[in-house]
């Protein structure tokens, strides 16, 4: 395997969980809901996916368990914010805090155990092509799924009636309600989709990125995914680009250290967080770019008229 191949492969591995979580959150936010619980849903997906895979011996079951865990977490959020109309910011924070604690509790006895690795889908013939084979065709299910989801979300949001309804609900929930759309129902569904994607992102961390469970292993990726959605101005294409940029930054530290340059490893480890802040500054400062695509109702509770 050449060095370039290795770099590309690690970038893909580092980017996939960001892409999965961000694309899910993008749909949630397009429907007008800000779910700050991505980190909590992701870490729960990671621990549940890991344990399910370990106990069943099947990585696929692990992936499914991660998805279910993400959805379950998101439904707590949905019930509170949509039915009980609690603050979305506070409830999302609560989801993250609880997810971090609960995953630590559940996963404690599994820490450090060797897990089950999600295997690459070997495509006969194609995966063995030199260079192109491993780079394009040597990945696991979730890598392809993340790319397919990006295309799929882009298609659904901008080319289908379902997407039109989601964007409408996020753009003006009163109008959507007046036209007879079930605002709360659409939002429940989009929150669940976001939860599923975050759960998958978590499962990717504990089954593919590393095949073990480490406490707090999401390491802020959920928050970076949230920042990515802002950075991408709510457009799936840009989420894809952003996720791969951030993924590249994430692994850049490893390679710089490998080159023997004397930079404290802690500085390199802080790089993804610093780059996230820089990205937010660049994008948020420009009001015209952000305002056009920002779902106008984001974060606002919707109370249907009595």
């Amino acid at each position: 395997m050449s060095a370039i191949e290795a770099v590309i492969l690690t970038i893909i591995t580092a980017s996939t969980p960001l892409l999965l979580a961000a694309i899910g959150e993008l749909v949630t936010e397009r429907a007008g809901v800000l779910n700050l619980g991505v980190e909590g849903m992701m870490i729960m997906g990671a621990v549940c996916g890991f344990i399910a895979a370990l106990l069943s011996g099947s990585a696929t079951l692990g992936v499914l368990a991660g998805l279910v865990a993400g959805v379950a977490m998101s439904m707590i959020f949905a019930f509170l914010t949509q039915t009980l109309m609690t603050s979305q910011v506070a409830t999302g924070l609560a989801l993250t805090l609880m997810g971090l604690g609960l995953s630590g509790l559940i996963g404690e006895s599994f820490t450090g155990q060797p897990g089950v690795k999600l295997q690459a889908l070997a495509i006969p013939g194609l995966s063995t092509i030199p260079f192109l084979g491993p780079v394009l065709f040597g990945h696991d299910l979730l890598v392809y799924l993340s790319l397919a989801l990006t295309g799929g979300v882009s298609y659904v949001l901008f080319r289908t009636r379902l997407g039109l309804i989601i964007v409408a609900v996020g753009g003006n929930h009163h109008s959507a309600h007046a036209l007879g759309y079930n605002v709360i129902g659409v939002r429940y569904a989009c929150i669940a989709f976001g939860g599923a994607c975050s759960g998958l992102a978590g499962a990717y961390l504990s089954l593919a990125y590393t095949s073990q469970w480490i406490e707090n292993m999401s390491a802020g990726r959920g928050w970076i995914a949230l920042a990515l959605v802002v950075f991408a101005t709510w457009l799936p294409k840009r989420v894809l680009i952003g996720a791969y940029l951030f993924g590249a930054v994430w692994i850049m530290g490893l390679y710089i250290q490998g080159l023997g340059i004397a930079i404290p490893s802690q500085l390199l480890s802080s790089l993804p967080y610093l780059v996230t802040i820089a990205a937010l500054i660049i994008i948020s400062g420009n009001r015209t770019i952000t305002k056009v695509n920002t779902p106008a109702c984001i974060g606002q509770p919707f109370a249907p008229e009595r």
């Binding site: 964007v167 753009g171 959507a176 007879g180 015209t288 106008a296």
Partner: protein, 517 residues
Amino acid sequence: MSGNGSSGFLLEARNITKTFGDLRANDDVTLALKPGEIHALLGENGAGKSTLVKIIYGSLQPTEGQLLWKGKPVSIANPAAARALGIGMVFQHFSLFDSLTVLQNVALALPPKSNMAELSQRIESVSADYGLPLQPDALVADLSVGERQRIEIVRCLLQEPQLLTMDEPTAVLTPQEADRLFVTLRRLAEEGCAILYISHRLEEVRRLCDDATILRQGKMVARVDPKQETASSLANLMVGSEVGAVKAETRDRSGTAMLELRGLSLPTDDPFGVALKGIDLSIESGEIVAIAGVAGNGQAELFDAISGEALCPSADMVQLAAHACGGESITARRRRNAAFVPEERIGHGAISSFALSENVILTHHAVGSGLVRRGLINRTAAEDMNKRITETFDVRKGKPDPNAHSLSGGNLQKFVVGREIARDPDILVINQPTWGVDAGAARLIRQALIDMARRGAAVLVISQDLDEIFEVADRIAVISRGELSPAYPAAEMTPERIGLLMAGAHEHTATSMAPGA
């Protein structure tokens, strides 16, 4: 029951009652419409018109009573069911999506199986056919209020409705646009479509409608032929008593300019905002100048620039009592004894979750009202001030110091206006003084404005309501796309002339005529 079909009614709402907690928004209301009829639904704010309409459109379910469609009892579970029956609705507050195109907005209101390319063509043909030109690809955010209303109407027409409900459709139109709308509505009625027309503009109801049902405090009080009534007899039916006219007398004008705008220009960084362009205006003490205009033509931006919520690039652009203060904060301008009443009561003029006494502090904390001393708030003084304001302005409330959101729109507006007048300001700027308030409160507020001017204050009223403008103003200017016409004496102005100015006819006549003209 089957005999009802022969009565020829398209829609009957029988003995409709709708309660919200203790409130009876509709109380045993009956309404009947025939095909091809333009039927007015009249009533004050809060009389229950919107509730009834929402029940007919399936947005609300009645507590008691029955709906009959072509003589058969129906239950309209949601707006989609209403549309399936053939009921269309044009809301007063448009149900449009700013970030979507005209085509997407229309598609959202139609059944799922529509082909977008085909729909685009139908929008163009129907809108051209009815004189409501629209471009399917235009973004709603970029359109004027009149154009937005066209989307609502075209969206209904595409469903070939048998009943079209319109809620206050002319509130946002210039008189000329309103006339064109009436032509469209009459044509629809001739084609057999029934129209339920909700308005509080009595003259236009008399011109347009064949029949009228009048609601008062949730009850149906009369069914009349509006063409046989006068505007004042209709008004009496709506309000239930004589509404006195405001007393306007000629006032002494001092000749000193209290509020002056000199070449006020303010760009906007909001992609959906309006830039102000070279606005000149001078108001003397003792006079009321009104600025007419269709919503969204820069009124909010102008208000912010005068109040100091938005600062001007140059200090001379805004002068209060001959002080150049375009760069001063709203607090500094209040200290020059200017007072401001914004359009939005809730969230701008007052905070819904705060007690009235706390809302008093909002505009009194820095102007020597004695409510704040050494950084600490004197709650008793604020409560006393609130008591004085609410007594003087007849603000009706359940408790001595309730939260703002428990007040009705009219009472809250009386409070917000009263709070400023209590300071006895030399300059008052007020945006939409009686928007959405009942007739009694509107009269009280307009009278208070006139009385203030009589005491020597300079008053600037920004309003969409031409009746109100003619009632209070000494001079009238018109704002259109961020530009202001000269202020003409009220006696020289007519609704038609204001309408032309609203469409921007005072300048660049050739290029900026009314959209679609």
